[in-house]
Protein backbone atom coordinates (compact mmCIF):
# COMPACT_ATOMS: atom_id res chain seq x y z
CA UNK A 1 0.00 0.00 0.00
CA UNK A 2 2.72 2.45 1.04
CA UNK A 3 4.75 1.53 -2.03
CA UNK A 4 1.79 2.15 -4.31
CA UNK A 5 1.14 5.47 -2.61
CA UNK A 6 4.79 6.38 -3.16
CA UNK A 7 4.42 5.43 -6.82
CA UNK A 8 1.40 7.74 -7.18
CA UNK A 9 3.44 10.46 -5.46
CA UNK A 10 6.37 9.92 -7.82
CA UNK A 11 4.03 10.06 -10.80
CA UNK A 12 2.62 13.42 -9.65
CA UNK A 13 6.06 14.76 -8.94
CA UNK A 14 7.42 13.68 -12.34
CA UNK A 15 4.35 15.11 -14.04
CA UNK A 16 4.73 18.40 -12.21
CA UNK A 17 8.43 18.62 -12.98
CA UNK A 18 7.69 17.99 -16.63
CA UNK A 19 4.75 20.35 -17.11
CA UNK A 20 5.53 22.89 -14.35
CA UNK A 21 1.89 23.95 -14.18
CA UNK A 22 1.81 24.64 -10.48
CA UNK A 23 5.41 25.49 -9.59
CA UNK A 24 5.99 28.43 -11.91
CA UNK A 25 2.61 29.99 -11.23
CA UNK A 26 2.99 29.52 -7.48
CA UNK A 27 6.47 31.02 -7.27
CA UNK A 28 5.27 34.02 -9.25
CA UNK A 29 2.17 34.26 -7.06
CA UNK A 30 4.32 34.46 -3.93
CA UNK A 31 6.66 37.04 -5.43
CA UNK A 32 3.78 39.18 -6.67
CA UNK A 33 1.92 39.00 -3.36
CA UNK A 34 5.01 39.99 -1.41
CA UNK A 35 5.64 42.82 -3.85
CA UNK A 36 2.09 44.11 -3.31
CA UNK A 37 2.53 43.94 0.45
CA UNK A 38 5.82 45.80 0.32
CA UNK A 39 4.35 48.33 -2.06
CA UNK A 40 1.37 48.91 0.22
CA UNK A 41 3.55 49.19 3.31
CA UNK A 42 6.26 51.36 1.83
CA UNK A 43 7.82 53.31 4.67
CA UNK A 44 5.60 51.88 7.40
CA UNK A 45 7.29 50.16 10.28
CA UNK A 46 5.42 47.03 11.19
CA UNK A 47 5.87 44.94 14.29
CA UNK A 48 6.96 41.31 13.91
CA UNK A 49 3.52 40.21 15.16
CA UNK A 50 1.73 42.12 12.43
CA UNK A 51 4.11 40.60 9.90
CA UNK A 52 3.37 37.14 11.31
CA UNK A 53 -0.27 37.65 10.44
CA UNK A 54 0.74 38.74 6.97
CA UNK A 55 2.99 35.71 6.57
CA UNK A 56 0.05 33.42 7.27
CA UNK A 57 -2.15 35.34 4.87
CA UNK A 58 0.41 34.77 2.11
CA UNK A 59 0.77 31.11 3.10
CA UNK A 60 -3.01 30.60 3.08
CA UNK A 61 -3.58 32.17 -0.31
CA UNK A 62 -0.57 30.49 -1.88
CA UNK A 63 -1.95 27.16 -0.67
CA UNK A 64 -5.37 28.10 -2.01
CA UNK A 65 -4.01 28.84 -5.44
CA UNK A 66 -1.83 25.75 -5.73
CA UNK A 67 -3.02 22.79 -3.72
CA UNK A 68 -6.14 21.96 -5.68
CA UNK A 69 -3.90 21.29 -8.66
CA UNK A 70 -3.17 17.62 -7.96
CA UNK A 71 -6.80 16.53 -8.27
CA UNK A 72 -8.08 19.17 -10.65
CA UNK A 73 -5.31 18.26 -13.10
CA UNK A 74 -6.42 14.61 -13.16
CA UNK A 75 -10.00 15.71 -13.75
CA UNK A 76 -9.12 18.23 -16.44
CA UNK A 77 -6.86 15.87 -18.35
CA UNK A 78 -9.45 13.12 -17.98
CA UNK A 79 -7.07 10.76 -16.22
CA UNK A 80 -9.20 10.27 -13.11
CA UNK A 81 -10.54 7.01 -14.52
CA UNK A 82 -7.04 5.85 -15.43
CA UNK A 83 -5.90 6.38 -11.87
CA UNK A 84 -9.03 4.67 -10.50
CA UNK A 85 -8.11 1.63 -12.60
CA UNK A 86 -4.49 1.71 -11.50
CA UNK A 87 -4.59 2.14 -7.74
CA UNK A 88 -6.77 1.68 -4.70
CA UNK A 89 -8.41 4.85 -3.29
CA UNK A 90 -6.23 4.65 -0.19
CA UNK A 91 -3.05 4.63 -2.27
CA UNK A 92 -4.31 7.56 -4.35
CA UNK A 93 -5.22 9.55 -1.25
CA UNK A 94 -1.90 8.94 0.46
CA UNK A 95 0.07 9.68 -2.70
CA UNK A 96 -1.76 12.96 -3.30
CA UNK A 97 -1.44 13.88 0.36
CA UNK A 98 2.30 13.32 0.17
CA UNK A 99 2.54 15.40 -2.98
CA UNK A 100 0.53 18.25 -1.48
CA UNK A 101 2.63 18.08 1.66
CA UNK A 102 5.84 18.39 -0.32
CA UNK A 103 4.38 21.22 -2.38
CA UNK A 104 3.09 23.21 0.59
CA UNK A 105 6.28 22.61 2.61
CA UNK A 106 8.48 23.77 -0.25
CA UNK A 107 6.19 26.72 -0.82
CA UNK A 108 6.26 27.71 2.84
CA UNK A 109 10.04 27.46 3.01
CA UNK A 110 10.22 29.70 -0.04
CA UNK A 111 7.75 32.21 1.44
CA UNK A 112 9.54 32.32 4.79
CA UNK A 113 12.95 32.70 3.13
CA UNK A 114 11.67 35.58 1.01
CA UNK A 115 9.99 37.13 4.03
CA UNK A 116 13.18 37.03 6.06
CA UNK A 117 15.08 38.46 3.13
CA UNK A 118 12.89 41.42 2.22
CA UNK A 119 11.14 42.28 5.49
CA UNK A 120 13.81 43.79 7.74
CA UNK A 121 11.42 44.04 10.66
CA UNK A 122 10.62 40.35 10.58
CA UNK A 123 12.94 38.90 13.20
CA UNK A 124 12.38 35.43 14.58
CA UNK A 125 13.63 34.84 18.10
CA UNK A 126 13.17 31.09 18.34
CA UNK A 127 13.98 29.47 15.04
CA UNK A 128 13.54 25.90 16.28
CA UNK A 129 10.01 26.54 17.43
CA UNK A 130 9.29 28.63 14.35
CA UNK A 131 10.21 25.82 11.98
CA UNK A 132 8.31 23.29 14.07
CA UNK A 133 5.19 25.43 13.77
CA UNK A 134 5.79 25.83 10.04
CA UNK A 135 6.10 22.05 9.68
CA UNK A 136 2.90 21.39 11.63
CA UNK A 137 1.14 24.15 9.74
CA UNK A 138 2.19 22.68 6.39
CA UNK A 139 1.03 19.21 7.50
CA UNK A 140 -2.33 20.57 8.56
CA UNK A 141 -2.86 22.65 5.43
CA UNK A 142 -1.90 19.72 3.22
CA UNK A 143 -4.20 17.20 4.93
CA UNK A 144 -7.20 19.52 5.06
CA UNK A 145 -6.87 20.75 1.49
CA UNK A 146 -6.22 17.35 -0.10
CA UNK A 147 -9.73 16.03 0.57
CA UNK A 148 -11.31 19.39 -0.31
CA UNK A 149 -9.34 19.45 -3.57
CA UNK A 150 -10.72 15.98 -4.29
CA UNK A 151 -14.24 17.30 -3.66
CA UNK A 152 -13.98 20.43 -5.77
CA UNK A 153 -12.30 18.56 -8.63
CA UNK A 154 -15.78 17.12 -9.24
CA UNK A 155 -17.56 20.49 -9.20
CA UNK A 156 -18.05 23.00 -12.00
CA UNK A 157 -16.61 26.15 -10.44
CA UNK A 158 -13.37 24.66 -9.24
CA UNK A 159 -11.17 27.68 -8.73
CA UNK A 160 -13.47 29.88 -6.67
CA UNK A 161 -14.92 27.04 -4.66
CA UNK A 162 -11.61 25.90 -3.21
CA UNK A 163 -10.96 28.77 -0.76
CA UNK A 164 -14.67 28.98 0.07
CA UNK A 165 -14.74 25.37 1.21
CA UNK A 166 -11.28 25.38 2.76
CA UNK A 167 -11.48 28.47 4.93
CA UNK A 168 -14.00 27.31 7.56
CA UNK A 169 -12.26 23.95 7.81
CA UNK A 170 -8.81 25.55 8.08
CA UNK A 171 -9.81 28.18 10.66
CA UNK A 172 -8.79 26.27 13.81
CA UNK A 173 -5.42 25.56 12.20
CA UNK A 174 -4.95 29.19 11.18
CA UNK A 175 -5.82 30.48 14.65
CA UNK A 176 -3.49 28.10 16.46
CA UNK A 177 -0.76 28.49 13.83
CA UNK A 178 -0.80 32.27 13.91
CA UNK A 179 -0.76 32.28 17.68
CA UNK A 180 2.12 29.81 17.89
CA UNK A 181 4.13 31.69 15.26
CA UNK A 182 3.66 34.92 17.20
CA UNK A 183 5.06 33.23 20.28
CA UNK A 184 8.05 31.95 18.29
CA UNK A 185 8.64 35.40 16.83
CA UNK A 186 8.21 37.38 20.03
CA UNK A 187 10.14 35.04 22.27
CA UNK A 188 7.75 34.94 25.15
CA UNK A 189 7.66 31.96 27.45
CA UNK A 190 8.25 28.62 25.74
CA UNK A 191 5.50 26.78 27.59
CA UNK A 192 2.91 29.28 26.39
CA UNK A 193 3.02 27.57 23.02
CA UNK A 194 2.00 24.12 24.26
CA UNK A 195 -1.78 24.52 23.92
CA UNK A 196 -1.35 25.69 20.33
CA UNK A 197 0.95 22.79 19.45
CA UNK A 198 -1.52 20.39 21.07
CA UNK A 199 -4.35 21.88 19.03
CA UNK A 200 -2.30 21.76 15.82
CA UNK A 201 -1.36 18.13 16.46
CA UNK A 202 -4.87 16.94 17.19
CA UNK A 203 -6.23 18.95 14.26
CA UNK A 204 -3.86 17.14 11.91
CA UNK A 205 -4.83 13.71 13.27
CA UNK A 206 -8.57 14.47 13.18
CA UNK A 207 -8.65 15.90 9.68
CA UNK A 208 -6.39 13.21 8.23
CA UNK A 209 -8.43 10.40 9.76
CA UNK A 210 -11.72 11.87 8.59
CA UNK A 211 -10.35 12.43 5.07
CA UNK A 212 -8.95 8.91 4.98
CA UNK A 213 -12.33 7.43 5.88
CA UNK A 214 -14.31 9.59 3.47
CA UNK A 215 -12.04 9.57 0.46
CA UNK A 216 -13.69 6.48 -1.07
CA UNK A 217 -16.99 8.33 -1.37
CA UNK A 218 -15.34 11.26 -3.10
CA UNK A 219 -13.11 9.28 -5.40
CA UNK A 220 -15.56 6.67 -6.70
CA UNK A 221 -18.57 7.78 -8.70
Amino acid sequence: MIRQALAVFRKDLASELRTRYAINALLMFVVVTLAVIMFALAGETLTPTALTGMLWVVMFFAAMSGLSRSFVAEEERGTTMTLQLLASPTAVYLGKLLFNLLLVAALNVFIVALFLLVMDQFVVSQFGLFWLVMLLGSLGIASATTIIAAIIARANTKGTLFPVLSFPVLLPLLMAGINATKIAVEDVRWDAVWPDLQLLGSYIVVITTVSFLLFDFVWKD
Binding site: I147, I152, L161, V164, L165, F167, L214, F217, D221
Partner: protein
Amino acid sequence: MWWKILLFFWIAAFSAIGIVTPVAGDLGTVGMYAQMDAAKLLPVKFTVVDRGRAATEEEGGGWLLRGRDSHDREADFRFAERPADLETAEGWLVSARYDTQFHRVEVAEVLGASPAFSFPFIPGLEERAKIIFFHVPMAWMTVIAFLVSMWYGIRYLRKKDMDDDFRSAASAGLGLLFCILGTTTGSLWAKFNWGSFWNWDPRETSIFVLLLVYGAYFALRSAIEIEEKRAALSAVYSIIAAATVPFFVFIMPRLMPGLHPGSADDSNAGPVLSSGGMDTAMRMVLYSMLAGFLVLYGWLMSIQMRLHRIKLRRAESAA
Protein backbone atom coordinates in the same frame (compact mmCIF):
# COMPACT_ATOMS: atom_id res chain seq x y z
CA MET B 1 -53.56 19.03 12.44
CA TRP B 2 -54.25 19.69 16.11
CA TRP B 3 -50.55 19.82 16.96
CA LYS B 4 -49.87 22.49 14.36
CA ILE B 5 -52.51 24.72 15.91
CA LEU B 6 -51.07 23.90 19.29
CA LEU B 7 -47.56 24.74 18.06
CA PHE B 8 -48.74 28.03 16.62
CA PHE B 9 -50.42 29.01 19.86
CA TRP B 10 -47.55 27.67 21.91
CA ILE B 11 -44.97 29.87 20.19
CA ALA B 12 -47.32 32.85 19.89
CA ALA B 13 -48.37 32.60 23.51
CA PHE B 14 -44.87 32.27 24.88
CA SER B 15 -43.59 35.04 22.60
CA ALA B 16 -46.37 37.21 23.96
CA ILE B 17 -45.57 36.22 27.53
CA GLY B 18 -41.92 36.88 26.85
CA ILE B 19 -42.56 40.31 25.36
CA VAL B 20 -45.48 41.54 27.43
CA THR B 21 -44.51 40.39 30.90
CA PRO B 22 -43.20 43.41 32.73
CA VAL B 23 -39.71 43.55 34.04
CA ALA B 24 -39.83 44.56 37.66
CA GLY B 25 -37.04 45.32 40.08
CA ASP B 26 -37.08 45.04 43.84
CA LEU B 27 -35.83 47.18 46.65
CA GLY B 28 -32.33 45.82 46.19
CA THR B 29 -32.08 47.24 42.69
CA VAL B 30 -33.57 50.56 43.71
CA GLY B 31 -31.07 50.82 46.50
CA MET B 32 -28.21 49.93 44.20
CA TYR B 33 -29.16 52.56 41.65
CA ALA B 34 -29.49 55.20 44.38
CA GLN B 35 -25.73 55.05 44.76
CA MET B 36 -24.95 55.09 41.04
CA ASP B 37 -27.57 56.95 39.13
CA ALA B 38 -30.00 58.61 41.48
CA ALA B 39 -32.16 60.14 38.77
CA LYS B 40 -32.93 56.92 36.94
CA LEU B 41 -36.46 55.61 37.26
CA LEU B 42 -36.83 51.87 37.69
CA PRO B 43 -39.78 49.55 37.56
CA VAL B 44 -40.39 48.21 41.06
CA LYS B 45 -42.89 45.65 42.22
CA PHE B 46 -44.07 45.41 45.79
CA THR B 47 -46.94 44.21 47.92
CA VAL B 48 -48.68 46.40 50.42
CA VAL B 49 -47.88 45.88 54.08
CA ASP B 50 -49.56 48.97 55.40
CA ARG B 51 -51.95 51.15 53.42
CA GLY B 52 -50.44 54.16 55.14
CA ARG B 53 -51.53 57.75 55.43
CA ALA B 54 -51.46 61.12 53.75
CA ALA B 55 -47.97 62.59 53.97
CA THR B 56 -47.46 65.84 55.83
CA GLU B 57 -46.26 69.06 54.23
CA GLU B 58 -42.65 68.46 55.49
CA GLU B 59 -42.72 65.01 53.98
CA GLY B 60 -43.53 66.44 50.57
CA GLY B 61 -47.27 65.73 50.49
CA GLY B 62 -48.96 62.91 48.65
CA TRP B 63 -49.49 59.48 50.11
CA LEU B 64 -47.08 57.34 52.13
CA LEU B 65 -47.44 53.62 52.45
CA ARG B 66 -45.24 50.66 53.36
CA GLY B 67 -44.43 47.92 50.88
CA ARG B 68 -42.54 44.67 50.81
CA ASP B 69 -40.62 43.22 47.87
CA SER B 70 -40.15 39.61 46.80
CA HIS B 71 -37.11 39.23 49.01
CA ASP B 72 -38.98 40.31 52.13
CA ARG B 73 -37.43 43.73 52.30
CA GLU B 74 -39.57 46.64 53.38
CA ALA B 75 -39.47 50.34 52.67
CA ASP B 76 -41.70 53.39 52.60
CA PHE B 77 -43.17 54.39 49.28
CA ARG B 78 -44.38 57.91 48.60
CA PHE B 79 -46.99 58.43 45.90
CA ALA B 80 -47.46 61.96 44.58
CA GLU B 81 -51.19 61.65 45.31
CA ARG B 82 -53.44 59.14 46.96
CA PRO B 83 -53.37 56.03 44.71
CA ALA B 84 -56.72 55.39 43.06
CA ASP B 85 -57.41 51.83 44.07
CA LEU B 86 -55.79 52.11 47.44
CA GLU B 87 -58.38 49.98 49.21
CA THR B 88 -58.43 47.05 46.77
CA ALA B 89 -54.88 46.78 45.40
CA GLU B 90 -52.61 44.28 47.11
CA GLY B 91 -49.57 45.84 45.58
CA TRP B 92 -48.27 47.91 42.71
CA LEU B 93 -45.84 47.89 39.85
CA VAL B 94 -44.48 51.41 39.80
CA SER B 95 -41.81 53.44 38.16
CA ALA B 96 -39.70 54.76 41.00
CA ARG B 97 -36.36 55.83 42.36
CA TYR B 98 -34.82 55.91 45.82
CA ASP B 99 -34.61 59.20 47.64
CA THR B 100 -31.47 59.18 49.77
CA GLN B 101 -32.51 62.31 51.64
CA PHE B 102 -35.80 61.01 53.05
CA HIS B 103 -34.77 57.35 52.80
CA ARG B 104 -37.87 56.28 50.97
CA VAL B 105 -38.95 55.25 47.52
CA GLU B 106 -40.37 58.02 45.39
CA VAL B 107 -43.05 56.73 43.04
CA ALA B 108 -43.12 58.66 39.77
CA GLU B 109 -45.80 56.71 37.99
CA VAL B 110 -48.07 53.80 38.71
CA LEU B 111 -47.65 51.13 36.01
CA GLY B 112 -50.19 48.67 37.32
CA ALA B 113 -52.09 47.56 40.36
CA SER B 114 -51.84 44.12 41.96
CA PRO B 115 -49.14 42.85 39.60
CA ALA B 116 -49.08 39.08 39.38
CA PHE B 117 -46.29 37.94 37.17
CA SER B 118 -43.05 39.65 36.29
CA PHE B 119 -39.49 39.01 35.25
CA PRO B 120 -36.70 40.20 37.48
CA PHE B 121 -35.02 43.46 36.68
CA ILE B 122 -31.44 42.72 35.68
CA PRO B 123 -29.20 45.74 36.06
CA GLY B 124 -27.59 46.52 32.75
CA LEU B 125 -29.95 44.33 30.76
CA GLU B 126 -33.39 45.56 31.82
CA GLU B 127 -35.97 44.94 29.08
CA ARG B 128 -33.16 43.87 26.75
CA ALA B 129 -32.82 40.64 28.72
CA LYS B 130 -35.87 39.38 26.84
CA ILE B 131 -33.77 38.68 23.75
CA ILE B 132 -32.88 35.38 25.38
CA PHE B 133 -36.34 33.99 24.50
CA PHE B 134 -35.69 34.36 20.78
CA HIS B 135 -31.96 34.58 20.23
CA VAL B 136 -30.96 31.50 22.20
CA PRO B 137 -33.50 29.14 20.55
CA MET B 138 -32.37 30.41 17.13
CA ALA B 139 -28.72 29.72 17.95
CA TRP B 140 -29.63 26.26 19.21
CA MET B 141 -31.60 25.47 16.07
CA THR B 142 -28.62 26.55 13.98
CA VAL B 143 -26.42 23.93 15.61
CA ILE B 144 -29.11 21.25 15.77
CA ALA B 145 -30.01 21.72 12.09
CA PHE B 146 -26.34 21.37 11.19
CA LEU B 147 -25.98 18.14 13.17
CA VAL B 148 -29.19 16.76 11.62
CA SER B 149 -27.89 17.69 8.17
CA MET B 150 -24.67 15.82 8.87
CA TRP B 151 -26.58 12.84 10.26
CA TYR B 152 -28.63 12.50 7.07
CA GLY B 153 -25.44 13.00 5.07
CA ILE B 154 -23.91 9.98 6.79
CA ARG B 155 -27.12 8.05 6.18
CA TYR B 156 -26.99 8.93 2.51
CA LEU B 157 -23.42 7.65 2.24
CA ARG B 158 -24.46 4.37 3.87
CA LYS B 159 -27.76 3.74 2.11
CA LYS B 160 -27.60 5.89 -1.05
CA ASP B 161 -31.20 7.00 -0.59
CA MET B 162 -31.78 10.30 -2.38
CA ASP B 163 -34.44 11.25 0.18
CA ASP B 164 -31.74 11.34 2.84
CA ASP B 165 -29.78 13.79 0.74
CA PHE B 166 -32.84 15.98 0.39
CA ARG B 167 -33.40 15.89 4.15
CA SER B 168 -29.77 16.83 4.66
CA ALA B 169 -30.06 19.81 2.31
CA ALA B 170 -33.42 20.87 3.74
CA SER B 171 -32.04 20.80 7.26
CA ALA B 172 -29.02 22.84 6.17
CA GLY B 173 -31.37 25.35 4.55
CA LEU B 174 -33.36 25.76 7.75
CA GLY B 175 -30.12 25.93 9.71
CA LEU B 176 -28.89 28.73 7.47
CA LEU B 177 -32.17 30.59 8.02
CA PHE B 178 -31.91 30.26 11.81
CA CYS B 179 -28.22 31.15 11.62
CA ILE B 180 -28.95 34.39 9.78
CA LEU B 181 -31.81 35.24 12.17
CA GLY B 182 -29.68 34.48 15.22
CA THR B 183 -26.74 36.52 13.93
CA THR B 184 -28.89 39.52 13.02
CA THR B 185 -30.82 39.62 16.28
CA GLY B 186 -27.64 39.18 18.28
CA SER B 187 -25.76 41.80 16.33
CA LEU B 188 -28.51 44.42 16.66
CA TRP B 189 -28.81 43.68 20.35
CA ALA B 190 -25.04 43.91 20.82
CA LYS B 191 -25.06 47.43 19.39
CA PHE B 192 -27.46 48.56 22.12
CA ASN B 193 -26.08 46.58 24.98
CA TRP B 194 -22.36 46.18 24.38
CA GLY B 195 -21.79 49.17 22.16
CA SER B 196 -20.89 47.67 18.80
CA PHE B 197 -22.51 45.46 16.20
CA TRP B 198 -19.68 42.98 16.05
CA ASN B 199 -16.77 42.39 18.36
CA TRP B 200 -15.40 38.90 17.57
CA ASP B 201 -16.55 37.61 20.88
CA PRO B 202 -15.86 33.82 20.85
CA ARG B 203 -19.56 33.10 20.41
CA GLU B 204 -19.77 35.59 17.58
CA THR B 205 -16.78 33.89 15.98
CA SER B 206 -18.49 30.52 16.31
CA ILE B 207 -21.71 31.62 14.61
CA PHE B 208 -19.63 33.28 11.91
CA VAL B 209 -17.86 29.98 11.26
CA LEU B 210 -21.20 28.19 11.08
CA LEU B 211 -22.44 30.81 8.63
CA LEU B 212 -19.34 30.19 6.49
CA VAL B 213 -19.84 26.43 6.64
CA TYR B 214 -23.48 26.75 5.57
CA GLY B 215 -22.51 29.13 2.80
CA ALA B 216 -19.78 26.77 1.57
CA TYR B 217 -22.18 23.82 1.73
CA PHE B 218 -24.66 25.51 -0.58
CA ALA B 219 -21.95 26.89 -2.86
CA LEU B 220 -20.73 23.32 -3.28
CA ARG B 221 -24.21 21.97 -3.94
CA SER B 222 -24.92 24.56 -6.59
CA ALA B 223 -21.70 23.68 -8.39
CA ILE B 224 -22.44 19.99 -8.98
CA GLU B 225 -25.02 18.92 -11.51
CA ILE B 226 -25.28 15.16 -11.07
CA GLU B 227 -27.55 14.58 -8.10
CA GLU B 228 -25.85 11.46 -6.78
CA LYS B 229 -22.45 13.13 -6.93
CA ARG B 230 -23.83 16.26 -5.30
CA ALA B 231 -25.34 14.21 -2.51
CA ALA B 232 -22.15 12.28 -1.79
CA LEU B 233 -19.81 15.27 -1.96
CA SER B 234 -21.95 17.61 0.14
CA ALA B 235 -22.37 14.85 2.72
CA VAL B 236 -18.61 14.39 2.86
CA TYR B 237 -18.10 18.13 3.21
CA SER B 238 -20.58 18.44 6.05
CA ILE B 239 -18.82 15.63 7.91
CA ILE B 240 -15.42 17.28 7.44
CA ALA B 241 -16.83 20.59 8.61
CA ALA B 242 -18.42 18.87 11.60
CA ALA B 243 -15.00 17.55 12.59
CA THR B 244 -13.58 21.07 12.87
CA VAL B 245 -16.60 23.07 14.02
CA PRO B 246 -16.80 21.68 17.60
CA PHE B 247 -13.65 23.66 18.41
CA PHE B 248 -15.63 26.82 17.78
CA VAL B 249 -19.14 25.94 18.83
CA PHE B 250 -18.70 23.93 21.98
CA ILE B 251 -15.23 24.50 23.33
CA MET B 252 -13.80 27.90 22.50
CA PRO B 253 -16.74 30.07 23.65
CA ARG B 254 -16.81 28.36 27.03
CA LEU B 255 -13.10 28.44 27.70
CA MET B 256 -12.26 31.89 26.47
CA PRO B 257 -13.26 35.16 28.05
CA GLY B 258 -15.97 36.94 26.15
CA LEU B 259 -19.05 39.06 26.32
CA HIS B 260 -21.63 36.29 26.10
CA PRO B 261 -22.90 34.56 29.20
CA GLY B 262 -21.17 31.27 29.86
CA SER B 263 -17.72 32.51 28.88
CA ALA B 264 -14.66 31.56 30.86
CA ASP B 265 -14.71 34.71 32.94
CA ASP B 266 -18.29 34.06 34.00
CA SER B 267 -19.15 32.36 37.21
CA ASN B 268 -21.78 30.07 35.66
CA ALA B 269 -22.17 28.03 32.51
CA GLY B 270 -24.64 30.37 30.87
CA PRO B 271 -28.34 30.73 31.36
CA VAL B 272 -29.48 27.55 29.63
CA LEU B 273 -27.14 24.93 31.00
CA SER B 274 -26.56 26.01 34.57
CA SER B 275 -29.21 25.22 37.14
CA GLY B 276 -28.93 28.48 39.04
CA GLY B 277 -28.58 31.97 37.76
CA MET B 278 -31.95 32.36 36.15
CA ASP B 279 -35.34 33.33 37.38
CA THR B 280 -37.83 30.44 37.30
CA ALA B 281 -40.38 32.32 35.23
CA MET B 282 -37.78 33.31 32.63
CA ARG B 283 -36.42 29.78 32.59
CA MET B 284 -39.87 28.38 31.97
CA VAL B 285 -40.52 30.75 29.05
CA LEU B 286 -37.06 30.06 27.60
CA TYR B 287 -37.45 26.27 27.76
CA SER B 288 -40.95 26.51 26.29
CA MET B 289 -39.59 28.60 23.42
CA LEU B 290 -36.77 26.11 22.89
CA ALA B 291 -39.30 23.27 22.71
CA GLY B 292 -41.53 25.34 20.41
CA PHE B 293 -38.67 26.14 18.05
CA LEU B 294 -37.65 22.50 18.02
CA VAL B 295 -41.14 21.40 16.98
CA LEU B 296 -41.32 24.29 14.48
CA TYR B 297 -38.06 23.03 12.95
CA GLY B 298 -39.49 19.53 12.73
CA TRP B 299 -42.65 20.85 11.10
CA LEU B 300 -40.73 22.93 8.56
CA MET B 301 -38.68 19.84 7.76
CA SER B 302 -41.81 17.78 7.11
CA ILE B 303 -43.27 20.57 4.93
CA GLN B 304 -40.07 20.60 2.90
CA MET B 305 -40.22 16.82 2.51
CA ARG B 306 -43.84 16.95 1.34
CA LEU B 307 -43.09 19.75 -1.10
CA HIS B 308 -40.18 17.70 -2.40
CA ARG B 309 -42.38 14.64 -2.92
CA ILE B 310 -45.00 16.70 -4.76
CA LYS B 311 -42.35 18.15 -7.06
CA LEU B 312 -41.00 14.68 -7.74
CA ARG B 313 -44.44 13.36 -8.58
CA ARG B 314 -45.12 16.28 -10.91
CA ALA B 315 -41.81 15.75 -12.65
CA GLU B 316 -42.64 12.08 -13.05
CA SER B 317 -46.10 12.69 -14.47
CA ALA B 318 -44.68 15.32 -16.82
CA ALA B 319 -42.07 12.91 -18.15
